[in-house]
């Protein structure tokens, strides 16, 4: 057994003990309250037993696994209310639990502990429950119990007998070595002397051989390797030489004589043999005497020591507690490694080592005690600060100064240590997963690579503790259900090795733990169906359920996607545990999944008590802490240079930084800290105040300023904290930067939860409380519109009115046979597949590809667009060895693909679409990316051009005779949205911004408006407001957005819009349109 295993088993023991500790009181509650027991209690027990079952399964501890499995079955029945928890039931469970405890306390011997009786009783109850009547089950159970009892007694008797026999032989060996018996010590004087010298023990191991000669040889070799590092193989009976036929051993038993430092039970655990087959050989007194005679310098004390060691060992064998054994195993290993020649010294050393663990001792301390310590240490720091201030201000050479100094340093150290006591690296939890994944993957014949990142992220101990269960369940689930079997992966064009990534990182003052896999993904529709089957939701609910909500169903109690109950996961405890545990930690779970592409489950955990580096800044004499995470840099701007560095764009101040303009937010303004500011002023006006200061300065510039004043002004500075949030940068103007500190995050009192500007509180060095700024909240409150800045900046820089697609798009860039590059939005693509010549069939002059169990019509986009004349499909696919790429769009029901020569790249980028340069039917336009011209085809139109069209779901969206207006500054998305509506026969008018739209709305009446929210100048929300003033006041408005969120949807609802859909989400958009029509 390796040390890694030991650590894992130790963890298992600890974890299981914790579970058992909670199961016992819960069982008692169950006993007391019977069927009225709170389901949560039953659930808790069920999960506890389930976890034990699962983990023991990994370690191959079948005895524990079996018993817990039986118990789990019974608890499952109780959970499902199939069985009434009668006294017999709880009795049997308690008995089972006791046995489990016993086995877990003694894991190495758990396999030899007899649990058949407990199992039989529970099994009988289970069988009896088929009749549905607890009472009927009773006699049966008893019967079974008796049978089992008898069986057990017999087994016990046998064992006893065997033990007695074994003892006899041992005693025989102990009393006097039988000359006929192997080994005869006198034959190995050197080894025996060596053993005495170094305090080793001598054993005869009965090694059972199985199978044919070569397997026997192998197993013997394995044994040699096992014993090699810890001892010496002295001899065997029969003696092994090259010609030895392993088959010739008497009773198939090879007796092996070894000397080792390990004591008996360690040898057992090392060799995985029972004690019965290992016999310790007592070193005859004569041998010791001989040694004494040979080494007259050694005094008798040494002898006593040796003897004592043996006594010690024997004594300890009587009480083989597993922990002790574990410790000793480690100690022995350590002491063995460090052992040097001196005989007596080692004997004593190993003895003392056995008594006194070298391993760092740990002590369980309650978290509340630690908290108190932390608080008191904080208090100590404050007192220290005050004290050192008074001392330093009185006299410079105070005799107390050195004292204060040492108090100072020791206080700092105390604080640091105490703080640290609560923090643990997330590695504590992560480190067990590679093994878990490996074992599990092996078990399921899958190939999985687990990547761990961010293990050094520190989390509060209590958080860490509660992470183990949910993460284990997540990992098991991903291995079990997420990653496909290698064959399937291969077929899907994925690498055979499934990738699972477990990453921890800080974000917005939370710790995120993301588990990302590239497996099969989760099908929201399947989830819905399953949830309906299980009665978790109704048909109606399912219909109205969004994908996100549907995916979240997997966290519902009693929901399991596993097809059968397995050792590993299943039964629907897994994800249910994940959510309850994470929510207990005041965290949240998010899940996104793409069928065929994988799943991303992100746990967001608050870092209560987590320590984060932060800058302490001040605004209007109020101090705030801002997390350094996300802080890019601090710009110090002297007043006199203000006008050079800060400009006004659309009435908003921006900082010129390198080649970009950074929007600025005055923190005092956002936090509404201007007491004098009129209450009814709105935000733009408030921000304008900052501008006002600006303008004043600019006007002063005209006047001659005398040197004195200028110098005075130069002293006035402001600081701009440049903050990066989700790729968007903005500057936060503060009055002063005071300090950089590691701050302890404390939760925000619930009274301030509604204020989005703050995420938490902390206590500063001087003992005062400070609020921690939440960047996202500030940004939201300041109403920063990122499109705004970029738009104006680009327009200014380029001086031409092209329509920039200022929102980043994820695109796949592909190359056709003739080297033409085309870009397709990733969100339009279901998958990209590699195809070969042999996959392609020519039917009726059209090409088809068989892929999985479907046939896809394929076309060459360049050809269809009329841009590649000389390149027929036949030529492209002629080369038999050439691999081609088939892009399958996610247009529902469309079995057709575009064929390209290869994928060039995928990127997140801003597309500056040019409609003029290259024009063709089926082309949105072109753009320059990485010095190449990339064409952007309209996939739907392409297919239409070759008369491939999806089975027309469009027909249900019939907007004939209705007029729609589409407002979007982004040409690309505007065209997309327009095309969706045009396909549904709407008469669509486009508007490139809010102002234009408003003009149109004033003149004409429309039946529906679809508008982008994020637009320069007039935002979508403003437009909605303005629209209400026009003739079109009743028009239903649908918002489109790049990043849809619940909060945004809510805001849209509040603003009176009928819906908010992600840009280019045709189905959702058209569903809303349809629902409007029905009304």
């Amino acid at each position: 057994m390796s040390e890694e295993d030991d650590a894992l088993i130790a963890m298992f023991v600890q974890e299981s003990t914790e579970h058992l500790d909670t199961i016992e009181p819960d069982l008692l509650i169950l006993e007391e309250q019977g069927k009225d027991t709170d389901p949560a209690v039953v659930n808790r027990m069920f999960r506890g037993v389930h976890t034990i079952k699962g983990t023991s399964g990994f370690f191959g501890l079948s005895n524990i696994s079996n018993l817990s499995h039986t118990m789990e079955n019974l608890l499952g029945k109780i959970r499902e209310n199939v069985m009434v928890p009668t006294a017999e039931v709880t009795d049997s469970l308690l008995a089972g639990m006791d046995k489990l405890t016993q086995m877990i306390e003694d894991v190495p011997n758990s396999e030899s502990i007899d649990a058949s009786q407990e199992k039989a009783v529970i099994q009988a109850l289970l069988d009896g429950s088929g009749g549905g009547d607890g009472a009927a089950a009773k006699p049966k159970a008893e019967e079974a119990a008796q049978e089992a009892d008898q069986g057990a007694t017999e087994a016990e008797a046998q064992t006893q007998q065997a033990e007695e026999e074994a003892e006899e032989t041992t005693q025989l060996a102990k009393v006097e070595p039988d000359p006929q018996q192997f080994p005869i010590l006198d034959n190995y004087p050197e080894e025996v002397q060596d053993a005495i010298k170094t305090g080793k023990y001598l054993y005869v191991i009965d090694f059972k051989l199985k199978g044919n000669n070569s397997t026997r040889q192998d197993s013997f070799k394995q044994f040699e390797q096992l014993i090699g590092p810890v001892g010496t193989l002295i001899a065997t009976n029969p003696i092994i030489n090259d010609e030895l036929n392993f088959l010739s051993c008497k009773d198939d038993i090879l007796q092996i004589f070894v000397s080792t430092v390990l004591d008996l039970d360690l040898v057992c655990s090392l060799t995985e043999l029972t004690e019965k087959s290992i016999t310790q050989v007592q070193i005859p007194k004569s041998a010791i005497k001989k040694k004494e005679a040979e080494e007259p310098t050694t005094d008798s004390g040494g002898l006593v020591a040796v003897g004592e060691v043996y006594d010690e060992v024997e004594d300890e064998d009587d009480e083989p507690t597993p922990t002790k054994r574990k410790l000793r195993l480690l100690n022995e290993k350590l002491s063995n490694q460090s052992s040097s020649g001196n005989g007596d010294g080692i004997a004593v050393a190993s003895k003392s080592a056995a008594k006194q663990p070298v391993v760092e001792e740990t002590l369980r301390v309650s978290v509340s005690l630690l908290d108190e310590l932390i608080n008191m240490a904080g208090e100590l720091v404050l007192i220290r600060n005050q004290l050192s201030r008074t001392v330093s201000t009185t006299t410079s050479n105070d005799p107390q100064a050195p004292l204060i100094q040492s108090l100072d340093s020791i206080t700092s150290r105390i604080q640091a240590k105490v703080m640290h006591a609560r923090m643990q690296q997330i590695n504590v939890v992560f480190s067990k997963f590679p093994r878990v994944v490996r074992d599990l993957a092996n078990k399921m014949d899958k190939k999985i690579t687990l990547e761990l990142r961010g293990g050094e992220v520190e989390l509060d101990k209590s958080v860490i503790q509660h992470l183990s269960d949910p993460l284990t369940h997540m990992i098991r689930n991903v291995v079990d259900h997420g990653i496909e079997l290698p064959d399937i992966r291969k077929a899907a064009g994925k690498p055979v090795n499934g990738q699972v990534q477990l990453a921890a990182y800080h974000e917005n003052g939370m710790v995120n733990i993301a588990m990302i896999d590239d497996g099969a993904g989760i099908d929201a529709e399947k989830i819905k169906r399953k949830a309906i089957d299980k009665g978790l939701i109704t048909n109606k609910q399912a219909e109205n359920m969004g994908e996100e909500d549907a995916l979240a169903l997997i966290f519902a109690p009693g929901f399991s996607m596993a097809k059968k109950v397995s050792d590993v996961s299943g039964r629907g405890v897994g994800m249910d545990v994940v959510r309850t545990n994470i929510e207990k930690l005041r965290g949240s779970v998010q899940i996104t999944s793409k069928v065929g592409a994988g799943t991303n489950i992100t746990l967001k955990l608050p870092l209560t008590l987590a320590i984060i580096p932060a800058m302490i800044i001040s605004v209007r004499n109020h101090r705030f802490a801002i997390p350094e995470i996300g802080l890019v840099k601090i710009v110090r701007v002297v007043d006199s240079e203000l006008e050079d560095q800060i400009q006004m764009v659309y009435n908003a101040p921006v900082l010129r930084m390198q080649d970009m303009l950074l929007p600025l937010v005055d923190l005092a303004d956002v936090l509404e800290m201007h007491v004098t500011w009129p209450e009814d002023s709105d935000k733009t006006e408030r921000r304008a105040r900052w501008l006002h200061r600006q303008v004043n300065k600019n006007s002063k510039k005209g006047n001659p300023v005398d040197g004195k004043e200028r110098r005075a002004k130069r002293n006035k500075v402001i600081y701009i904290m440049v903050i990066n949030i989700g790729g968007n940068k903005f500057g936060m103007v503060v009055d002063n930067v005071l300090d950089s500190e590691e701050i302890v995050v404390k939760p925000l009192p619930s009274y301030f939860k509604e204020n989005t500007c703050f995420s938490a509180t902390t206590i500063l060095g001087d003992g005062s409380v400070a609020l921690i700024i939440d960047y996202a909240g500030i940004m939201e409150k300041a109403n920063i519109n990122f499109g705004n800045i970029e738009q104006s900046e680009l327009a200014k820089r380029q001086g031409e009115m092209r329509s920039p697609l200022h929102e980043k798009q994820n695109i796949i860039i592909l190359e056709t046979g003739s080297g033409l590059r085309m870009g397709i939005l990733t969100r339009m693509v279901r998958r990209v597949e590699k195809i070969r010549h042999k996959d392609i069939d020519l039917i009726n002059d059209n090409h088809y590809v068989r892929y999985t169990d479907k046939t896809y019509r394929i076309i060459l986009p360049g050809q269809v667009l009329g841009l590649e004349y000389d390149n027929s499909l036949e030529e492209v696919i002629e080369d038999e060895n050439k691999e081609l790429c088939m892009v399958i769009s996610n247009i529902p029901g469309l079995q057709a693909g575009l064929v390209f020569a290869k994928i060039v790249d995928t990127m997140d980028t801003y597309i500056d679409l040019d409609q003029q340069a290259i024009q063709a039917q089926g082309l949105y336009g072109s753009a320059r990316l990485d010095e190449h011209v990339v064409l952007f085809p309209n996939i739907t139109e392409l297919f239409n051009m070759v008369e491939i069209s999806a089975p027309p779901p469009e027909s249900i969206w019939d907007g004939a005779g209705l007029k729609a207006i589409v407002v979007d500054d982004t040409l690309f998305s505007r065209l997309m949205t327009t095309s969706y509506l045009t396909q549904a026969d709407f008469d669509v008018t486009q508007a490139k911004d809010g102002e234009t739209a408003l003009e149109l709305l004033k003149e004409e009446e429309f039946d529906i408006m679809v508008t982008d929210l994020n637009m320069p100048g007039m935002s979508g929300f403003d437009l909605v407001k303005e629209t209400r003033e026009t003739n079109n006041s009743e028009i239903p408005i649908i918002a489109t957005t790049l990043f849809s969120s619940k909060a945004l949807e809510f805001r849209c609802g509040q603003a009176g819009m009928v819906g908010c859909v992600p840009i280019m989400d045709k189905v959702r958009l058209m569903n809303i349109v349809e629902s409007l029509k029905r009304q």
């Binding site: 109020h622 939760p747 500007c757 400070a770």
Partner: protein, 180 residues
């Protein structure tokens, strides 16, 4: 029961001493921008962040027009007279309350009944009074025409030394469904 008494302007108030953890005089409040007026700020007491409520504001005893929120003149009388003069910050007292858990450990019933708060909280008051022992049966229902304080915040009244001691309904002061 034992009642910790204090005064606020002209009112003589008391709260059950079981609910009180400690009383101090610190003034280092950290105000929270955007928070309602009746929240004075936050205070660090041995490492825990206490949300301090300005009782006067909470009981709506501040006359409109008194812009400077938390400072009141020492005499206890309403103080518009001195509004032009720069006001000296008056020493006020913090009554730090026990958390719900702490109260539960002492008396479950009281915790159930009175503790509407989960986070540590405290009250800022003008002057401290004595701890008074009060027979439960002498507590009367607050009269309907109670002056200067909404009856929602009053649990009962006791007559003491010719003064009326109002026992506060602490739960309603900290309850989050604002402006009852």
């Amino acid at each position: 029961m034992l009642v910790c008494t204090f005064s606020l302007g002209e009112l003589y108030l008391g709260i059950d001493i079981v609910l009180v953890r400690e009383i101090n005089q610190s003034l280092g409040y950290t105000s929270v921008p955007g928070a309602p007026n009746h929240i004075q700020g936050m205070l660090n007491i041995r490492g825990s962040v206490i949300t301090m409520f300005n009782l006067k504001q909470r009981l709506d005893m501040v006359k409109p027009g008194d812009e400077t929120q938390q400072q009141f003149d020492g005499s206890g009388e309403e103080d518009e007279s001195s509004s032009s003069a720069p006001k000296k910050r008056k020493q006020q007292f913090n009554i730090i309350l026990r958390t719900k858990n702490e109260v539960t450990r002492i008396d479950k019933a009281i915790a159930q009944e009175d503790c509407s708060w989960d986070d540590p909280v405290g009250l800022v008051v003008d002057r401290l009074g004595d701890v008074q022992k009060i027979d439960d049966h002498t507590i009367q229902v607050a009269p309907a025409n109670l002056q200067g304080i909404s009856s929602d915040f009053v649990r009962g009244v006791v007559e003491m030394d010719n003064k009326l001691l109002l026992i506060l309904n602490v739960g309603s002061i900290f309850s989050e469904n604002e402006e009852a």
